[in-house]
């Protein structure tokens, strides 16, 4: 499996057979703190890659840098053959790299269906002059709405179609944000903790949907803490710690790496926490 994706042995920064994104020397410093220091990383095209690591490892900062929401101190990255360093965030999204946010940004003051419609790109009606000529954009709007309704159904949000997004629960907002990101037909969809707050039973069906993305040719890069999910769907795992990439490889290999277990996975991954011994603290009274 590893040699379908990587050229040579799986190691941090290894080359990929068909990379969609190649980043070099990406550094981001906040005062004295180096939040991100990625020498070289390549994301395989058409595969599902998981980005894991402890909190504060720099995963979200790295996402922000790649998608233009933050400026690095140095670094370049090529997406699908085009250099995206320094490109503003909205243009990055138009090029096909669409991201979701760790702290959900469902637009509360819009209805669920309007949120979805907003996600579609190249909308004629969004131009100032064109907006007055309703016949010009009406047909496209109907198309967009149909697509939105399909996605809402798959994410089980169709009943909430006319509700304001602000009335959805936290997990439902996460789902809305993911569905909305898909409206833009991304080439690479970057999901920042997409399952955080989502009910475990629903998570399973959504994972199937993410696998469908892969069969449609979309590349997926996601940050997650749920190791069962990572094991279940990812083709490749990249581990970040303290701003650097410390391990890469197929899930089984990475997750049995002792260093990764110590820093991140924990030794109790498959044990019942109710049976683990805890130290008895004297009562506070």
């Amino acid at each position: 499996m590893a040699n379908e994706i990587a050229i040579g042995a799986a190691a941090p920064g290894c080359k990929k057979v068909d990379p969609i994104l190649v980043a070099d020397h990406v550094i981001r410093q906040f005062g004295g703190l180096t939040a991100v220091n990625v020498e070289h990383v390549e994301i395989p095209r058409g595969k599902i890659t998981a980005l894991i690591g402890p909190n504060g490892a720099g995963k979200t900062t790295f996402f922000n840098l790649l998608t233009g929401f933050d400026k690095p101190n140095s670094g370049t990255w090529i997406f699908d053959g085009k250099n995206l360093a320094g490109v503003p965030s909205f243009k990055v999204a138009r090029r096909g790299m669409i991201r979701t946010f760790q702290l959900t940004k469902a637009l509360s003051l819009l209805t669920v269906i309007d949120n979805m419609r907003l996600g579609a790109q190249r909308q004629l009606g969004e131009g100032f002059w064109a907006s007055f000529a309703r016949p010009l954009w009406k047909a496209q709007e109907t198309q967009i709405t149909t697509k939105a309704d399909e996605l809402l159904k798959r994410f089980k949000l169709d009943a909430k179609r006319e509700d304001y997004a602000g009335s959805l629960s936290g997990g439902q907002r996460k789902l809305l944000e993911m569905a909305r990101a898909l409206m833009g037909d991304p080439k690479l969809v970057m999901l920042d903790e997409p399952m955080a707050g989502v009910n475990p039973a629903l998570t399973q069906s959504l994972l199937e949907h993410i696998k469908d993305l892969k069969s449609n040719g979309t590349t997926v890069l996601f940050v997650e803490h749920d190791m069962h999910m990572v094991r279940h769907i990812s083709d490749w795992v990249i581990v970040m710690a303290e701003g650097k990439i410390v391990a890469e490889g197929p899930p089984a290999q990475v997750m049995s790496d002792q260093a990764v277990i110590d820093a991140y996975l924990g030794a109790h991954a498959d044990t019942d926490l109710g049976t683990v011994e805890i130290k008895a603290i004297k009562a506070g009274k």
Binding site: I52, G53, P54, N55, G56, Q102, L103, S167, L168, S169, G170, G171, Q172, L175, E193, A196, G197, V198, N199, P200, A201, L202, T203, Q204, L207, H225, M227, H228, M229, H232, A263, Y264, L265, G266, H268, A269, D272, L273, G274, V276, I278, K279, A280, I281, K282, A283, G284, K285
Partner: protein, 243 residues
């Protein structure tokens, strides 16, 4: 089964944020002294809403909440803190510009003289807080902030600790630590009611749990009972762990 008055008793609550829209539709919960109670369930079921109604942050339209037999329905949060109820929200739960020690000091502002004693207690559970007391809370990672938030709640020597998704956003090893810490706090005599998205872990450590669905307590039982119930697995837990 104890025949003491329950520490927290919520009876048939109907509550919501917006006028006319109820999130809780007849929800009940009982927590006895020393128990670790879990609240799990699908998105939008009302888990956080239940916790917040107990803490007076959501308007209860009908039903009662009792603390040791005393009616505390819709009582404001500051009054509840005086009565020994501590709440740790999921986000925005520390003061980022204050140090860890200052955050903990904020915890006892109603009774500042008890600081030293409570600080010793809290740092015995979370030694890292003691070691890094001068560090600004804003520079901490998510899991570390959770620790500070929980530590601050413990500073008032609460009889009841309400936790809103303490493992949210944490890496697996930190999640496991968080759950073990909750067990330690509970073992020290604090009654704990926790809302959790990580249902599997929550059920592993709690005494009893309530499964909320569409605003009511649809199922209840001991942690073990629910973990091993095939219906629970199908509806709420998923079986990814076994795949």
């Amino acid at each position: 089964m104890t025949n003491q008055t329950p520490v927290v008793e919520a009876l048939d609550l109907h509550a919501g944020y917006l006028p006319g829209i109820n999130i809780l539709n007849g929800c009940s919960l009982v927590a006895n002294q020393g128990e670790l109670i879990g609240i799990i369930g699908p998105n939008g079921a009302g888990k956080s809403t239940l916790l917040k109604s107990i803490f007076g942050q959501v308007n209860i339209r009908s039903g009662h909440v009792k603390l040791n037999g005393e009616d505390i329905t819709n009582l404001k949060a500051n009054k509840l803190v005086e009565k020994g109820v501590a709440f740790v929200p999921q986000t925005n739960n520390v003061f980022p510009s204050l140090t860890i020690q200052e955050n903990l000091e904020m915890g006892v502002f109603q009774n500042p003289k008890t600081f030293d004693e409570r600080f010793d207690f809290v740092t015995s559970i979370f030694p890292a807080l003691g070691e890094r007391r001068a560090q600004k809370a804003g520079s901490l990672s998510g899991g570390e902030r959770q620790m500070v938030a929980m530590g601050r709640a413990l500073m008032i020597d609460p009889s009841v600790l309400l936790l809103d998704e303490p493992s949210a956003g944490l890496s697996p090893v930190r999640q496991d630590e968080a759950f073990l810490r909750v067990r330690e706090v509970n073992a020290a005599g604090v009654t704990v009611i926790m809302v959790e998205q990580n249902a599997r872990r929550c059920l592993q450590i709690c005494d009893r749990a309530y499964v909320l669905d569409q605003g009511t307590d649809a199922h209840t039982g001991t942690g073990r009972e629910l973990l091993n119930d095939p219906k629970m697995v199908e509806l709420y837990l998923g079986n990814l762990a076994e795949l």
